[in-house]
């Protein structure tokens, strides 16, 4: 399996899937960083969904921030988040074999600027960052066709973890901070 993992970029076309498999076989169990910007770049549907969320939530977040600003007269900075949601990397075979389905949460810092903008109104800025989390493990009753090995079941892979020949691990990361200006 390790030999296949090293060759999987050529077979499955996946440097990320190869990297994640090799980390599993390294038997350390250490968490692995995911390059979330690369992930979102390769999953344009997910990227569009993430970028739409500040716009969808902005009216409500802005209203809360402005209300607080008007109440205190002081700069306002607070954090909002979309909550953990699921996504499946089905459109990209490499990421599909690397992470499959995963969770992501977008955390936004909403800031009301004391200095009024050109129109005389306080300016609201939303900076947001997306966090991704998944567990690299195996699912009962699933299998992956691996040329030329045939079907490799998750149960076979899980048998490596049980006697300590490989180790499941957590993986996650965060995107770069993006700014939404309306």
């Amino acid at each position: 399996m390790g030999f296949f993992a090293m060759g999987s970029p050529a077979v499955l076309g996946g440097p990320h899937s190869a990297k994640h498999m090799l980390h599993h076989l390294s038997n350390t169990g250490e968490p692995l960083d995911i390059d979330v910007d690369a992930l979102m770049g390769d999953l344009p549907d997910m990227n569009r969904n993430v970028e739409a969320q500040p716009a969808e939530n902005a009216p409500n977040w802005e209203a809360q921030a402005l209300a607080e600003y008007e109440r205190t007269g002081k700069p306002v900075k607070y954090v909002q988040q979309t909550g953990w949601q699921g996504w499946t990397a089905e459109k990209d075979p490499d990421w599909y074999h690397a992470v499959g389905s995963f969770h992501y949460n977008t955390v936004a810092q909403v800031e009301v600027d004391v200095v009024p903008g050109p129109d005389g109104e306080p300016k609201t800025t939303i900076r947001y960052q997306t966090h991704v989390y998944d567990r690299y493990n195996w699912d009962a009753n699933k299998a992956t066709p691996v040329p030329p090995m045939g079907n490799v079941s998750d149960a076979q892979m899980a048998r490596l973890h049980q006697p300590g020949q490989a180790k499941e691990y957590d993986m996650g990361g965060q995107s770069e901070v993006r700014t939404w200006n309306g």
Binding site: G86, T88, E90, P93, Y96, H97, G100, S101, F102, H103, D139, A140, N141, K142, A143, T144, P145, P148, G150, N151, S153
Partner: protein, 160 residues
């Protein structure tokens, strides 16, 4: 050691003749093994009995290539009337769930509720009519389920 005379008058041990035959046999065996390995590696493997049932029901991974990962049936058999029956068990996570199962096998039919814990889907895959019966094992939480059992019954429309 018995010596054999030759036309030139020189003698040669009979043992050498056996050695030549033995080496020739080894070479033939080695070439045969190489040929066998080449045929085994280059010839596409046929379906095993479970895969044959999956293919008959339109549930083989070859028939749904974009999915990448597939479910292994816990039961796979063709009944006497030619109906292919497969059973699967799925969890309620992201990687194993009813939703993922439907996505994996391109099942887009509308569900019909048969009972509080049972839903059916019916579709056609080529010449095969299929019925999916999903039985949910409810979890203590409201509206959730721990796992689900999916039974697929598939029959060719030509009754073959």
């Amino acid at each position: 050691m018995e010596r054999v005379s030759t036309p030139t008058g020189l003698t040669r041990p009979r043992r050498r003749r056996w050695l030549v035959w033995f080496l020739a046999l080894c070479a033939v065996w080695t070439l045969g093994a190489i040929a066998w390995a080449a045929v085994a590696l280059l010839t596409p493997a046929g379906d095993d009995p479970q895969e044959a049932v999956e293919r008959k029901a339109g549930m083989h991974h070859d028939q749904h290539q974009p999915a990448g990962r597939y479910y292994i049936p816990t039961y796979a058999k063709v009944e006497k009337d030619g109906t292919a029956v497969l059973r699967y068990e799925v969890g309620n996570g992201q990687d194993s769930s009813v939703k993922d199962f439907l996505r994996t096998y391109d099942i887009t039919a509308e569900p019909k509720r048969a009972s509080p814990s049972e839903v059916t889907y019916s579709d056609r895959f080529g010449d095969v009519r299929r019925t999916f019966t999903i039985t949910y094992n409810p979890s203590p939480g409201a509206g959730g389920y721990d796992c689900a059992r999916i039974t697929v019954r598939a029959r060719g429309t030509d009754a073959s």
